[in-house]
């Protein structure tokens, strides 16, 4: 479904992604783990077209999207929940969700998806008239994921959904991620520092170090891999 082939991305003079290859198949949950500054978020921003690659290709549903605008990529069904949640602080919860469906015109289906996210996160339904900025961190993360669901993605990119959240909320968020994958057959590409949790929900994983993919394997193998255990699982 998504394929990155020898992608190189630069921030000015900084060579952030050094020829990375990633492949994600339909229906999978794939995770990308690595330390701070390894280039995980840059990978997602490159896929979404916000920071286009300098060389290499990004292919989505068989189409080369490396030079497409971010809005065209969203239109194709590739949606990202960025790190730090990026809730629109002065829009209400309801308006934030409406914005998620910005490119959609199928009103009845939008309404159904709205009911679906309120079912996933009843808390949001209670707070639909509150502005986004007044929500707690956990609620904002729920809203960010819900907003992405409203775009009806075929491939959902999640950047550090567990960042700064209480363990119980993290558990809940990961449960929802599995649920979305199972119920809607949404493919998920999950970037995480919480490698332990990420590898437990993902089918496969990539390990990233300073702009390069160093290991790529099934999750259970990565969980058993000595160097991964030492570097990312704290064991």
């Amino acid at each position: 479904m998504l394929k990155l082939e020898s992608v190189n991305t630069y921030y000015g003079n900084i060579h952030a992604l050094k020829g990375i290859d990633i492949e994600i198949n339909k229906g999978e949950i794939v995770t990308l783990i690595g330390a701070n500054g390894a280039g995980k978020s840059t990978t997602l921003m490159t896929i979404s077209g916000v920071v286009p690659p300098k060389t290499g290709t990004v292919t989505f549903k068989g189409e080369n999207i490396s030079s497409k605008n971010p809005d065209e990529i969203v239109q194709m069904g590739l949606v990202q929940v960025p790190e730090g949640r990026h809730i629109f602080p002065y829009l209400t919860v309801q308006e934030n969700l409406d914005m998620g469906a910005f490119l959609r015109k199928d009103k009845p289906a939008i309404k159904k998806d709205l009911e679906y996210v309120f079912e996933l996160f009843p808390r949001l339904s209670e707070r639909r008239k509150q502005t986004g900025g007044t929500l707690s961190g956990g609620e904002q993360q729920m809203l960010a994921i819900s907003r992405a669901i409203m775009a009806k993605p075929d491939l959902l990119l999640l950047d550090e959904p567990s960042l700064g959240l209480a363990p119980i909320i993290v558990m809940q968020i990961f449960e929802i991620i599995k649920k979305i994958n199972r119920e809607n057959n949404t493919t998920i590409f999950l970037v995480e520092q919480n490698a332990n949790m990420a590898l437990k929900v993902a089918h496969r994983g990539y390990v990233m170090e300073t702009g390069r993919i160093t290991i790529s394997d099934k999750s259970e193998n990565l969980l058993a891999n000595d160097s991964v255990r030492k570097a990312y699982l704290g064991m």
Binding site: P70, Q80, M99
Partner: protein, 304 residues
């Protein structure tokens, strides 16, 4: 007599404030969306006035029997379309290439654009003042109270109210309006939900330029003369109004403009008209000492 004098100052101030508001909208909307003080915005207002003058003169001389209202309609529409086109082009060539550059670069580009447009009109037209025809009909029902309020002032105030209502509806309820608000609040996220940010920024420039042109034509028709330099002082005043109200806030810009218009009107009416321009800036200094973010500004504008 005292009361009539007061009312005439009040209405004069409101009319003045309305014009500032029409210009200040462009400053505040552009700032809200790309954090740029578009110093060339006053020039757009001036170009709007010149376009209307050209249209109306051409119509008057080539087709003298054109009905007055048709002439007015074409002049206003022409001014708005031309100014919008200038605003759009300006964003394309002077600001879009600098979208990811430091903010200072874009600011310098704006100042350059302002000087360029002023001198372009100076060369293409004339350095002298040109007479500007009255493009507002004289309402006969106002004749008995003409010494209190003129037809021009009424038209200015009513037009501004209509523009404000339309703009509020646009921003609150339409798709474009929602996209504008989202883009102003978080540009990266706006892209990630599928908003074409470049397009929204262009639309913002077009709307701001249109209202500035409208203000330019209305006030020129009231004053009766224009030259290439009128955009500078009007632009600075409207900028002051936008800062006063809280730059980035649309209701703030309107409020700031009305306060500024009224201060100038009452100040020059009751104290001395020599200091008319000074009142605006004294007021700005006082407000900024006590409320640096402006009257309706947000304190937390700085995003991490």
């Amino acid at each position: 007599m005292q009361l009539e004098y007061f009312i005439s100052l009040l209405l004069g101030g409101l009319a003045k404030g309305s014009i500032y508001a029409l210009i200040a909208l462009g400053y505040t909307m552009v700032y809200g969306i790309i954090q740029l003080i578009n110093f060339a915005h006053g020039e757009i207002y001036m170009i709007g006035a010149f376009t209307a003058l050209i249209f109306s003169t051409v119509i008057t001389y080539t087709m003298p029997d054109t009905a007055f209202l048709i002439n007015v309609g074409i002049s206003f529409t022409g001014a708005i379309i031309f100014a919008a086109a200038y605003g759009f082009t300006m964003e394309r060539i002077a600001y879009r290439p600098l979208r990811n550059a430091p903010r200072l670069s874009a600011l310098i580009s704006a100042i350059g654009m302002s000087i360029l447009l002023q001198n372009y009109v100076l060369l293409a037209q004339t350095p002298d003042f040109l007479p500007f025809p009255s493009l507002v009909p004289n309402f006969s029902f106002l004749e008995p109270i003409e010494y209190i309020v003129s037809s021009n002032q009424i038209v200015i105030i009513v037009t501004t109210i209509i523009v404000m209502i339309l703009l509020t509806l646009l921003i609150k309820f339409t798709r474009v309006g929602k996209a504008m608000r989202a883009t102003a609040q978080d540009k990266t996220m706006a892209q990630l939900i599928g908003i074409n940010v470049d397009k929204i920024i262009a639309i913002t420039f077009v709307i701001g330029s249109s209202t500035a042109a409208l203000g330019g034509v209305l006030i020129s028709s009231n004053i009766g003369q224009i030259n290439y330099y009128i955009g500078f002082i009007a632009g600075i005043k409207a900028f002051v109004a936008a800062v006063l109200g809280g730059i980035g806030s649309i209701p703030g810009a309107v409020l700031g403009s009305l306060i500024l218009g009224l201060t100038e009107s009452f100040g020059s009416g009751y104290i001395s008209s020599d200091y008319e321009d000074a009142f605006a800036f004294i007021f700005l200094v006082i407000i900024l000492i006590f409320k640096p973010e402006g009257i309706l500004g947000r304190k937390d504008n700085q995003k991490v």
